[in-house]
Structure formats: C-alpha cells, structure tokens
C-alpha cells in the first residue's frame, strides 16, 4: 500500500528566502532519499474556505509501503533531510504519514 509523508509548512517570515532554500537546497536533499518513488511540492495560494492562510507549502514524499518510508527516514540521506527540515520549517509546521486510498 502506497504511503506518503505529508509535510505542511506554516508561513515563513520571508517567503522568498524560504523558497530559495527550499527549492535550491531542500528539494535536492529530498530527491536523494533512498526508496523515494515520487516527490510533489506545492505552494499554497488561497484558502477558499475563507479561513486563515495557515500553510505556505505542502510537500508529499511517496513510498511503496510503510517499511520503505521508515527505512528512508532512518537512512543517512533521510536524516540529513530531516536536519534541514528542522532548520527551515517555521514553528507550527507539521509532518504526517498517510496511507493512500
């Protein structure tokens, strides 16, 4: 069963500086994670429910199954990506594992 790591980044103080690091440094780190099947990033541009624009970005990392995701997070490359995440993620950012229907 395909699983994905869903990352929700809250609004950074400087969105341009965030995106520069995110696209230029964080993205390549993600792409090098072993077992990664697909990586999709997207920038939140509106909140059609009229609520707060809580999140700046959503990122999704797809893996074949939960074991592959766990192995990926525990790999050297996964740890390096996690360290970079903790450096750039604004307070309140979240990370979830989801089982794709």
């Amino acid at each position: 069963m395909t699983v994905k790591l869903v990352v929700l980044y809250t609004q950074p103080d400087d969105a341009d500086a965030f995106d520069e690091h995110y696209l230029g440094i964080h993205g390549p780190l993600v792409q090098a994670i072993p077992g990664l099947v697909r990586f999709e990033g997207a920038r939140m541009v509106a909140a059609p429910d009229g609520g707060e624009q809580t999140y700046h970005r959503i990122a999704e990392l797809y893996f074949d199954d939960a074991a592959a995701l766990e192995a990926a997070l525990g790999s050297d490359q996964g740890k390096a990506t996690g360290a970079d995440y903790r450096q750039i993620a604004p307070p309140g950012s979240r990370m979830f594992v989801a089982a794709v229907d």
Copy 2:
C-alpha cells in the same frame, strides 16, 4: 500550471462512520466534478514529528489550472460536493488551493 484543492479533515467523532460516508458518498461526488484531472485521498496514520494527530484525512483534487478549478467549484456538481463537505467535515477542517511546483 497544475493546481490542486487540498482538503484537510480533522478527526471525526466516529472515524468508521465518517469513512463510510466519505468513501461511499463523498468520493463519487468528487469524481463527477467537471474538469477534475485526478483525485487522491489518503488516511493519516501517524505523526512522526511527535505532534498531535490533527487530521484524519487529506484529499487532493487536481485541475489543469486555476480557471478550471474555479469553474469546477462553481459547477452544479462542485456545489453539491461542497454541500456534502460542509455536512461531513469535522470542525477545524480546512481547504486550500495550491500551485504544484
């Protein structure tokens, strides 16, 4: 530029009853929305950051561009789906538009 509607459902009181309605009734409503390119649903199963399991489900509806998404939401089918969303979405559920990288 591909855009997607990202829907985050908070935890329902009865997850089984929610999923029964979501998969049996809401899903088919979504699938009938004009202009929908792809629909991906997933059930949140863990929060590896150690935080609260805030969301029960994430759903993503893909469209070719922002105009197609806007037209979809304004269509009869889009309105029917929105009405069903408002009926089932637990308080705090959110809806965002995101531009895919």
